[in-house]
């Protein structure tokens, strides 16, 4: 009993590797599987549930058993499919399922039929059994320290994409290129040729050079793993090593031709899971491509003609071949016999023999046949995966005994064996199709259908008995087809077995849904460039370099990278707050929106977008306002400047600029008319530095940007134009800190000049953290933090739109809905903690008997200027509770606080005019 051995002499250079700790040698051009076979390895792992030994079944992406963990250059890659992964020198290959618990499961196996876990583990509860079950389950082992990189990938648009560079694929690509189409040909293997590489049949080299000559782009080591909508294909291109993720290419193809061939089916007989049972086509692949003879005394078992060339090839290299053909004698069987091959016809396999590896088989009529390899061919299943993913439906054609497309899918056509066109290459007319043969009654049911998930014929029949008879129930109840090979060799056999068990035709049962990816795809390749700072990028300030130069700490504020504070640590926030109240501070407000609204209906559009009227705004003046959605909920707040007749500038808050522009454009284009009003987002053109504090006016005087600073000529909520470094500047008197304020806007190119000039003029740099405290002291809101998805204008004290039943703006009608008048609406108020401390933001206000939440703290800080904690909160009927005490709750702690008006600092606003 010899098992697999390398018979061909020379070949690629030697490649040392280890398997389960034992050092071995393969050679260049080997897959891990062919190298293992060359070293006489039969068992490559153990099955999921019964821990039975598993040997290599196939030579392609349909392999269920040869799943290994591979470590190379210190990187461990779990669940590598040995049959498609090229061998590399220095690989440490380890089988996935160790021997552990094999004896126990062998004893328990009669009790471990499919779905047993649904019927037990009820007492005491699942948590007691789960850890053990999880340890037994799972395949590969992840290494926390291992990392895999991937290429950037790309997008490609072509007229025609052909999948599969076998003969049919090459011909389709050439036809397309000759017809003037741009053609991409995608081939999974490392060289074009498809099955002709081992099935023989010349002409491939000629076709390949012709394809290249007419301009076909050929990608090898590339798998079209997914067909998505509108003719888009996901293609994974392998990296040069197992430790590299390769890259994701998205191919937009007007037409797709699938020349993806077919997958050989195993046969069903008792103990068909023994190592040494292989697909016939695979044994030919290993012989012709890797010089490996998988068995000295192979038994070729088949129900179709495709196995005869395999038998002849094995015989040619000296193997003692026996053919077991379940069909009556035929011209094919006679020809083989003439070549000295022992052929048994009308012969069915009953049982495989051997411990740990095949030693022969017993036929249905009791005959015993010795052999060290059973090469099976149970028929072929067209690889219709991408057609089905793209919206097609594969149905079993009882007549032809193959899967066929039920209806055409636009843009997708089939070529070659996937289309059931069986005329084989040139001289070997084969009939490959055959109906799957399911063992009848009175035969052991220990017949394996899904080798990786250990699903037997008995499991399928148990599912039928328990009425899990839909194909989807069969899959989910028995886990048939849910392993890493996704049932490529099992699904159809499962369907045929369930059909027989329930007296139906395989066609009626249908198949489970084909889902991407066709083969597992590295997550690193799918992530592509989206790593680190390139993932979910932040917007940046024009003056960022200047802030960095001053050692600012930068944080993410709603999608923007902004200075949090300028000192060494968060302690400097207090100093910045005090500087604002006592001297003057400057903060970078460049991200505030500057959206121009122009045209005859500009004022009318703004009246419609804002809860208060804007069209009455005079040139040079500024007005604060709220925008709502049609449900009356506050979506943003901001100021509007009137720059001139029919020319307004909306300064919305930094994180809502995109939202405001989108909403304004919706109403402009669907209600007001494109010509009547135009919207230009000028935000990026301007940099805005906001100076505020009692000394702000003195500093402005020193800068000379604007002519007059006289309060009558230049009052609060007005703006004037000025000059900075020879270019136009705009200075607006608005205040978000409650202090006198001058917002200076200059062209963005001058940002890095304006910021230092304000610092040199005596302004203290102020970060967003301090700004958060200053505006909270004033009770000024951050929409989205101090408001939630239910807050309406009157909850914030803007009662006019609702009470005056103002009409003609977004959300107007919603302010009259019953909910708008509920007494228990949450209203924005201030809170002063008993004893002066800080109530954590996120704390709730509670009422007892029974305890329930009546609101929550939205903003909370220690106020350096007031020397106590201040907070804003949304509380049910808040304004009516001003002056009352409430109880706050935070993570189990409670305390008291007094409800105050939202504004805790300079309520009458006298500071603005100091």
């Amino acid at each position: 009993m010899t098992g697999p051995v390398r018979i061909a002499k020379a070949g690629g250079c030697a490649l040392p590797f280890t398997f389960a700790g034992r050092s071995m040698q393969g050679r260049a051009g080997d897959t891990i599987a062919s190298a293992l076979l060359a070293n006489g390895i039969s068992t490559v792992g153990r099955s999921f549930k019964y821990r039975r030994p598993r040997g290599i079944l196939s030579a392609g992406e349909d392999e269920p058993n040869a799943i290994v963990d591979v470590t190379l250059n210190g990187v461990r890659v779990p669940n590598v499919r040995a049959t498609t992964q090229a061998l590399e020198a220095g690989m440490q290959v380890s089988p996935v399922l160790g021997r552990g618990a094999a004896l126990l499961t062998k004893l328990l196996s009669p009790f471990l039929a499919s779905g047993f876990y649904y019927k037990t583990f009820l007492w005491p509860n699942w948590h007691m059994f789960e850890p053990a079950i999880r340890r037994m389950a799972g395949l590969g082992r992840i290494d926390p320290a291992s990392r895999m990189s991937a290429g950037p990938g790309g997008n490609l648009s072509v007229d025609l994409c052909v999948v599969g560079a076998g003969r049919s694929g090459l011909r389709a690509a050439i036809r397309g290129a000759q017809a003037g189409q741009s053609v991409l040909l995608v081939e999974r293997q490392d060289v074009p040729g498809g099955s002709s590489l081992w099935r023989g049949g010349d002409g491939v080299a000629g076709l390949l050079s012709e394809a290249r000559a007419v301009g076909v782009t050929v990608w090898t080591g590339s798998t079209a793993f997914g067909a998505y909508e509108n003719g888009r294909l996901g293609v994974h291109r392998q990296g040069d090593s197992v430790t590299l993720g390769g890259s994701l290419w998205v191919v937009q193809a007007a037409e797709v031709v699938l020349a993806t061939g077919a997958i050989e089916r195993p046969m069903l007989f008792e103990r068909n899971d023994l190592p040494g049972v292989m697909l016939a086509d695979a044994t030919l692949n290993y012989l012709r491509r890797h010089g490996v003879l998988c068995g000295a005394r192979p038994i070729v078992a088949t129900n179709n003609d495709s196995a005869y060339p395999v038998a002849l090839a094995l015989a040619e290299v000296g193997a003692k071949v026996t053919v077991v053909d379940s069909r009556p004698p035929s011209e094919r069987s006679a020809a083989a016999a003439k070549r000295g091959i022992r052929v048994l016809t009308r012969a069915r396999i009953a049982r495989a023999l051997g411990r740990g590896r095949v030693s022969g088989m017993v036929l249905a009529d009791g005959q015993r046949i010795e052999g060290d390899l059973i090469a099976v061919s149970g028929g072929w299943t067209p690889t219709l995966h991408l057609y089905c993913q793209a919206g097609g439906k594969a149905i079993w054609d009882e007549g032809k005994s193959i899967l066929v497309p039920a209806f055409p899918v636009p843009g997708i056509s089939l070529a070659g064996r996937v289309a059931g066109k069986w005329e084989a290459p040139d001289d070997l007319p084969w009939a490959w199709s055959a109906a799957p043969e399911i063992p009848g009654d009175g035969v052991s049911r220990k017949v394996w259908i899904d080798l990786q998930n250990d699903v037997t014929l008995g499991d399928v029949e148990l599912a039928a008995r328990e009425n899990f008879t839909s194909i989807e129930h069969l899959k989910r109840y028995t886990t048939l087809g849910m392993a890493t090979d996704q049932g490529k060799t099992a699904n159809l056999l499962g369907a045929a077995a369930m059909a027989q068990a329930t007296g139906r035709a395989t066609t009626d049962l249908g198949l489970t849904t084909y889902r991407p990816p066709y083969v597992p795809v590295p997550m690193a390749a799918l992530a592509g460039l989206s790593r680190g700072p390139v993932q979910s990028p932040l917007r940046r300030l024009a003056a960022e370099a200047a802030h960095r130069a001053m050692g600012a700490t930068l944080w993410d504020y709603g999608g923007l990278l902004r200075p949090a504070f300028y000192g060494a640590d968060e302690g400097s926030i207090v100093e910045e707050c005090l500087a604002a109240r006592q001297g003057a501070v400057v903060f970078d407000a460049s991200s505030l929106g500057k959206v121009a609204v122009m045209g005859p209906k500009a004022g009318e559009l703004l009246d419609f977008l804002f809860a208060g009227r804007m069209s009455t705004l005079q040139p040079g003046r500024i007005r604060y306002g709220l925008t709502l959605n049609e449900a009356g909920i506050v979506t943003d707040d901001g100021v509007v400047l009137c720059l001139g007749p029919d020319h307004f500038l909306v300064s919305c808050s930094s994180s809502h600029v995109g939202g405001f522009v989108a909403s304004a454009e919706e109403w402009r284009q669907t209600r007001f008319g494109r010509d009547a009003v135009l919207i230009h987002d000028r935000t990026a053109h301007w940099a805005t530095m906001s100076l505020s504090g009692p000394k702000a006016k003195a500093i402005m005087a020193g800068l000379g940007i604007v002519g007059t600073l006289d309060d009558d000529a230049f009052p609060h909520m007005a703006f004037v134009m000025g000059q900075f470094m020879g270019r136009e500047a705009r200075v607006a008197r608005v205040s978000f800190t409650g202090e006198r304020g001058y917002e200076i806007s200059v062209p963005a190119g001058l940002a890095v000049a304006l910021w230092p000039s304000l610092i040199e003029a005596g302004a203290v740099p102020c970060g967003i953290e301090a700004l958060g405290v200053l505006r909270a002291e004033k009770g000024f809101i951050y929409v989205g933090q101090d408001t939630d998805g239910e807050t309406m204008p009157h909850d914030l004290g803007f009662d006019a739109p609702r009470l005056k039943r103002r009409m003609g703006f977004v959300g107007d009608r919603a302010l009259q809905l019953p909910v708008a008048g509920d007494a228990d609406r949450k209203q924005l108020v201030g809170l002063a903690r008993e004893g002066g401390g800080v109530i954590p933001a996120g704390a709730h206000l509670i009422e007892d008997g029974p305890r329930r939440s009546i609101g929550f703290v939205t903003s909370s800080h220690q106020s350096p200027s007031l020397g106590r904690g201040i907070a804003l909160a949304l509380i049910e009927g808040g304004r009516a509770r001003i002056g009352e005490q409430v109880t706050w709750f935070d993570l189990g702690k409670t305390g008291r606080a007094t409800v105050t008006p939202a504004c805790a600092y300079d309520p009458d606003g006298s500071r603005l005019h100091v």
């Binding site: 790309g154 990296g239 960022e544 720059l643 135009l678 990026a684 190119g749």
Partner: protein, 167 residues
């Protein structure tokens, strides 16, 4: 909360920044041109373009961006002639991507440029942001708004560091 200024790389200097990669050269520039967003009837826009020669990038039926060669003082606002003007001279950083491999890099950034490298309208989605494309004989000039320029630059750095062993 830790300082994020190390994770988010400092923005490149938008004059001297340059990337040299296999088959592609990337350079940046900004500031030295008058750039105006024009909206209004095509007649009035055409008249303006005649008076202020430069490149006109058509963005939408109702807007186009005029890139003049000099700092020119077109007045912001709504003009009775029925055209709206916005001075966006400092709004964009111009990034030129040139060389034989430019087309593939542009296609990686925008599947739309893979479909049509010379789009009828200038605005496209590129590396997750919306920017303007001016096709060049050997590549393209991208006009990206300043807040997104650092991201685009770091995306270009990542995209051009193609390891040779990953296709």
């Amino acid at each position: 909360m830790s300082d994020r200024s190390t994770f988010w790389p400092a923005p490149p200097d938008s004059i001297t920044a340059r990337i040299e990669a296999v088959g592609v050269t990337v350079t940046a520039s900004c500031g030295d041109r008058g750039v105006f967003l024009l909206s209004g009837s095509s007649k009035t826009v055409a008249q303006l373009v005649k008076d202020y020669p430069g490149t006109l990038l058509q963005i939408a039926p109702d807007r186009a961006m005029l890139v003049t060669d000099a700092q020119v003082g077109l007045q912001d606002g709504w003009h009775p002639a029925g055209v709206a003007i916005s001075d966006l001279s400092d709004a964009h950083i111009r990034i030129d991507i040139r060389g034989p491999a430019a087309a593939a890099l542009l296609a990686l950034g925008s599947a739309s440029l893979a479909i049509d490298p010379n789009p009828r309208a200038a605005a496209v989605g590129f590396a997750g942001v919306t920017l303007l494309v001016e096709p060049l004989p050997d590549g393209a000039r991208l006009y990206v708004e300043r807040p997104w320029a650092p991201h685009l630059w770091h995306w270009l750095l990542a995209a051009t560091q193609t390891a040779k062993d990953q296709p």
